[in-house]
């Protein structure tokens, strides 16, 4: 029933020094629907494609707010994500209670990374079957992190995980230098464009299946230091999807480039 003798559990190395159970857990991430995250100098945007189990059922939750300065987008086992997000909420709240400070992103990402690592070194545990994109702002500015079941975490300029996410990553790689200095709204459009790349022929981005989350530094002269996390779902995504459509029709004439204003 097993592919080899070395993939029964997460505490056995293969002769090549691999841990198959962890690699299989990474596969669970690829089963989940795609989420995309990207940052520029001021903002972090998370977008997700929501699936519904059947025609009449509701859509799943892809983006979870952790605190006013931070959110996660998930691909893979949603229940594992809930364990991690509950933990993150506790840690974030703890930081605000004891220091009056929003928890720094690298700190909290390190903490879930360490938790995930523990699950790969002790018998009787299993690796988490979920990948996360953690986006937010702290005193050092906006950040995006990728979290993997192995406990690996990376700070990214942009990232996509989940089913068919390679298409989105290709888009992001090609447009990396374009969105570094772009506006908040343009960043959202870039995120949606990357998301759209992953869709199969018969699929569309709709108000039902699209989730968008934005968090960033506050604009000059605004009250407070940060623009708190905002989740757009349902009808609220209409203007965002319209902007996407506009950018595409504008961009159609000139190939790769994108001019939202023209």
């Amino acid at each position: 029933m097993f592919r080899n003798n070395y993939d029964n559990d997460a505490v056995t190395f293969s002769p090549q020094g691999r841990i198959f159970q962890v690699e299989y857990a990474q596969e669970a991430v690829k089963q989940g629907s795609v989420v995309v995250g990207l940052v520029n100098k001021t903002h972090c945007v998370l977008v997700g494609l929501k699936r519904n189990a059947e025609e009449l059922s509701s859509y799943q939750k892809k983006i979870i707010e952790i605190d006013s300065h931070m959110a996660i987008a998930i691909a893979g086992l949603a229940s594992d994500a809930r364990v991690l997000s509950n933990f993150m909420k506790q840690q974030s709240l703890g930081s605000k209670m004891t220091y009056g400070r929003p928890i720094p992103l690298d700190r909290i990402v390190g903490q879930i990374g360490d938790r995930a690592q523990t699950n790969t070194q002790h018998y009787g545990k299993r690796p988490y079957g979920v990948g996360l994109l953690v986006g937010g702002v702290d005193e050092a500015g906006p950040h995006l992190f990728e979290f993997q079941p192995s406990g690996l975490t990376h700070e990214m300029s942009a990232c996509a995980i989940g089913a068919r996410s390679q298409m989105a990553r290709t888009y992001l790689e090609r447009n990396l230098d374009k969105f570094m200095d772009c506006s908040r709204d343009e960043l959202i459009t870039h995120g949606l464009r990357a998301l759209k790349e992953t869709l199969s022929q018969d699929k569309e981005l709709t108000v039902d299946n699209t989730s968008v989350g934005v968090v960033g530094m506050a604009a000059e002269g605004a009250k407070g230091r940060i623009e708190s996390f905002k989740l757009y779902e349902g009808q609220e995504t209409v203007p965002l999807l319209e902007a996407l459509e506009q950018s595409e029709s504008a961009g159609a004439g000139e190939g790769e480039s994108m001019e939202v204003d023209s």
Partner: protein, 286 residues
């Protein structure tokens, strides 16, 4: 005797008939695939360096540090499974902090290496855990001057009997490398990861045992060695990350810090020039 198919390699903590723990050996395999990491123990400090292969264009450049600060005066760099390296560092931080709790003073590098060796070894003893998939280089500077006890607020009487031997040597650089088996040695120059063979060969040329190499030279050599060790996987892009710990009167005042950008870039220019020079020499010989 081979490992595969005998069954002796399927569980940690099990000896094969010829006295080997195969799971530990497999963990070493994970190390051998990791980016090259080195440490050099210089006369007036320690330098750590690591080759970070860029696996994706989407990674944020300059982030994702692989050298960690443990206490003010100690740094650790690992090769192998990165999350295991983070676990190792987290343990090191706990050890350093608990040492301070007991002794109200920073942990000596040798004591830290000893405790970490013990910790890693414990992960070879049980079938319920797997060994660490990392080899870690621990570099530190033990203060050469009389340190105030943590929390000390006064200096006490300026005269008195005292029992201290004046001028006795104290402190200095420390460099240790801990393997998945828990085995550790002190080193003049340590290398692990994919390019360790080439790196070791270069380290041996430096005549580190004479204790003459200065920290600023060490930084340049460390950069060069990482570049040399990278030659075998030339097709992949990489980032060089370096940290250092100097003596109290040196550039970091006995603290573990990232090597400043300008100095690192200067060292990288030196490394590239040295590599080009080597190529030319080879061509001349041909």
């Amino acid at each position: 005797m081979t490992s595969i198919g005998t069954g002796y390699d399927l569980s940690n903590s099990v000896f094969s008939p010829d006295g080997r723990n195969f799971q530990v050996e497999y963990a070493v395999k994970a190390v051998e695939n990791g980016g090259t990491a080195i440490g050099i123990r210089c006369k007036d400090g320690v330098v750590l360096a690591v080759e970070k292969i860029i696996t994706s264009k989407l990674l944020k450049p300059g982030s994702n540090k692989r050298i960690a600060t443990v206490d003010r005066h100690v740094g650790i760099v690992s090769a192998g499974l990165v999350p295991d390296g983070r676990h190792f560092v987290s343990r090191a931080r706990d050890e350093a902090s608990s040492w301070r709790g007991t002794y109200k003073a920073p942990i000596p590098t040798s004591a830290l290496a000893n405790r970490l060796g013990g910790y890693v070894q414990a992960y070879t003893l049980y079938s319920s855990v797997r060994p660490f998939g990392v080899t870690s280089i621990v570099g530190g500077w033990d203060c050469e001057a009389e340190l105030a006890v943590d929390g000390q607020v006064g200096s006490g009487p300026k005269s008195g009997s005292g029992g201290k031997v004046e001028g006795a040597p104290a402190g200095g650089p420390g460099l240790y490398m801990i393997e998945p088996s828990g085995l550790y040695w002190g080193y003049y120059g340590a290398a692990t990861g994919k390019g360790r063979q080439a790196a070791k060969a270069e380290l041996e040329k430096l005549d580190l045992t004479s204790g003459k190499l200065s920290l600023s030279e060490g930084v340049k050599e460390a950069a060069r060695i990482i570049y040399v060790a990278h030659e075998d996987s030339k097709d992949k892009e990489f980032e060089l990350e370096m940290s250092w710990i100097s003596s109290l009167d040196g550039p970091t005042n006995g603290r573990h810090e990232e090597v400043p950008k300008e100095i690192r870039e200067e060292a990288e220019r030196f490394a590239k020039r040295a590599l080009e020079g080597e190529d030319e020499e080879e061509q001349m010989e041909e």
